[in-house]
């Protein structure tokens, strides 16, 4: 027999009361698990969408390009970059790109756009644009093909097979332009991206902008994201001062700040759940202590130190916290598991979600951080909630407690 055994049995003296508090703990934990995993899934989806639609894990430019993305700022020696990439372990795929801002016109309308000249084969391994097609086909490598966002096509009043004119400043300052045939319409998770981006073949972009065989950017995807900092460092060292190498974190600082803020906000959520539960626990434990004042007097008479009595009451609360958390987590996990495969269908909110760069189906994500938070915070709160009742019990004088009816 241990003190923890006595505490365990004390928990079940009043089964109904203990079950009520257990259920409230379970509901709190289930809500926390689902809220955490869905929110985290949403955040991860936003980040992954950004990375997979365009940003990628690493970008290499000529130094200064990010601050001033003009067509003149092309990479000095693309072959040197390709050689450098071959010397680095952990890169799954890479692709060269030409980037510039320009104007696209149809017969009826025009729009400012972000023009991407891509190697159609290599781009497929870096972004998922080829899988985002609503209609038509992805670039085949033939000259003067274009794939644009469905939202952009709608704005321009064009469809598959129609021709558009793209214009942008060429390297020598004159306006480069060319006619392109729309072969595909895409829709990504970001409505803003869809309204403003056009993909054309790399060679077509280089020709239109008269940059020869030069490129603006290399975009990279890692096979091992843990090695990202090391790869960035290695490429910087190999390429030297004339180049800049940015991670997705440096390219999307706002998004990463949002993710950090999310982590902070989850603690607030846990705090709110904890505070709600703590009052229930205080009430339950106070009632439990009040009912046993006489017995506590007897225990003190036998010689039980105040500290052991305090420990016993805290253990009772801890038992409730642990059991409630374990059961709540088991149920929460059982709900999370199928959702992680099927996703949560939020199609009724798809327009709003796309403006944030989130898809209509959210896949919850369970991280070790979520598990640790869910498993430890509530038991901790249970013990905190029991402190006051436990101290009340410990402070009883033996004779007054024994006399208590």
């Amino acid at each position: 027999m241990r003190l923890t055994t006595v505490a365990w049995r004390n928990v079940w003296r009043n089964k109904r009361r203990s079950i009520v508090i257990l259920v409230s703990i379970m509901v709190g934990v289930i809500a926390t698990v689902l809220m955490d995993t869905l929110s985290r899934g949403m955040i991860f989806q936003i980040l992954d969408n950004q990375i997979r639609s365009h940003v990628s894990h690493l970008q290499i430019h000529r130094k200064g390009f990010r601050d001033n993305p003009v067509i003149q700022a092309t990479i000095p020696d693309a072959d040197r970059v390709e050689d450098a990439l071959k010397n680095v372990r952990g890169i799954a795929s890479s692709t060269p790109r030409v980037l510039t801002y320009g104007l696209i016109s149809s017969a009826t309308n025009s729009s400012g756009i972000f023009l991407l000249g891509v190697d159609h084969d290599r781009e497929k391994n870096v972004t998922t644009i080829n899988k985002s097609l609503l209609a038509g086909e992805y670039l085949s490598g033939k000259p003067n093909e274009a794939v644009i966002g469905e939202a952009l096509a709608e704005k321009l009043g064009v469809g598959l097979g129609d021709r558009i004119v793209a214009m942008a400043s060429a390297v020598d300052g004159h306006v480069g332009s060319d006619v392109f045939r729309i072969v595909g319409l895409f829709e990504t998770f970001s409505s803003e991206f869809d309204k403003s981006t056009i993909y054309i073949p790399l060679a077509s972009a280089q020709s239109m902008l008269t940059i020869g065989d030069r490129v603006s950017e290399f975009a990279l995807i890692m096979s091992d994201l843990e090695r990202l900092p090391a790869i960035q460092k290695s490429l910087k060292e190999q390429l030297g001062d004339g180049y800049e190498v940015f991670t997705y974190g440096e390219i999307l600082p706002l998004l990463l700040a949002q993710i950090d803020m999310y982590d902070q906000s989850m603690f607030i959520f846990y705090g709110i759940i904890g505070i709600a539960l703590i009052f229930g626990i205080i009430n339950t434990m106070l009632m439990s202590v009040f009912e046993r004042i006489h017995e506590f007097g007897v225990l003190k008479a036998i010689g039980m130190p105040d500290s052991r009595l305090l420990m016993m009451v805290l253990l009772e609360a801890l038992h409730l916290g642990i059991i409630g958390t374990a059961l709540g987590f088991a149920i929460g996990y059982a709900l999370y598991l199928p959702l992680s495969h099927t996703g949560l269908d939020l199609r009724m909110f798809s327009d709003g979600l796309r403006s944030f760069g989130v898809g209509a189906i959210i896949y919850p994500v369970l991280t070790w951080g979520s598990v640790v938070n869910a498993l430890f915070i509530i038991p901790f709160v249970s013990v905190i909630g029991a402190l006051y009742p436990a101290m009340r019990a410990a402070r009883l004088t033996p004779v007054s407690a024994i006399r208590h009816v």
Partner: protein, 229 residues
């Protein structure tokens, strides 16, 4: 002169009853030696329980002093008094006061658990004590599965299993029938003789008092008589 186990000097205890001071004990002086089998007698309200509570370090006197094994209890901290009760004292209550969620055996083991005695030794000593008291077969029964007499025997077992110097029993037979009461007192007498444990019990039952070798008579909080047999 042989040092007495317990010495009480000019003991006084006042309670506040709705703001009115009530004198429960007045100018009590007595001493109790090792191995005594003494009773505190008196009508209800005479201060028997109060005196036992003070001797047992469950309460503090308003005035006067209590010495246990030569040490003044008023100089001890809460923690020290708690330790004294655990190591040197045993209690038997009128209402048995076994812990309802524990079996009889576990109730007897409880104080030894607090002392840190290992499981096996605890179990051995508890079973041996219960066998001495004739309740070994009740080891795994909960208090609500035992009669009053059985519960009180378990309470006595709990009180003596740690080999205390003194067992304080407050009206231990009050809730028992006369036969069971007689049996319990005889049991306590036997423990007193075999183990040299000092027993101090309070009672107003004449049949029970007949077993005591010394009777301290209280009336209205004052020691009015002392009978040595």
């Amino acid at each position: 002169m042989e040092q007495k186990l317990i010495r009480v000097e000019n003991l006084e205890k006042l309670y506040q009853d709705n703001g009115v001071p009530v004198r429960a004990l007045h100018d009590i002086s007595l001493s109790i030696g090792q191995g005594e089998f003494s009773a505190i007698a008196g009508p209800s309200g005479s201060g028997k329980t109060t005196l036992l509570n003070l001797i047992g370090a469950l309460d503090k006197p308003t005035n006067g002093a209590i010495f246990f094994e030569g040490e003044d209890l008023s100089s001890k901290t809460k923690k020290e008094l708690s330790s004294l009760r655990l190591h040197r004292l045993g209690f038997v209550f009128q209402a048995y006061n076994l812990i309802p969620v524990l079996s009889a055996l576990e109730n007897v083991e409880f104080a030894m658990m607090l002392l840190g005695i290992p499981d096996r030794e605890r179990n051995r000593r508890a079973m041996a004590t219960m066998e001495e008291l004739g309740i070994a077969e009740l080891a795994h029964k909960r208090p609500n599965q035992m009669s009053g007499g059985q519960q009180q025997r378990a309470a006595v077992a709990r009180a003596i299993v740690t080999n205390p110097s003194v067992v304080l029993a407050d009206e231990p037979t009050a809730n028992l029938d006369s036969v069971t009461a007689h049996g319990l007192i005889e049991l306590m007498e036997r423990m007193n003789k075999e183990k040299n444990i000092t027993f101090i019990f309070s009672s107003h039952d004449q049949q029970v008092l007949e077993h005591a070798r010394r009777i301290l008579v209280l009336k209205d909080g004052t020691l009015v008589d002392e009978i040595n047999k």
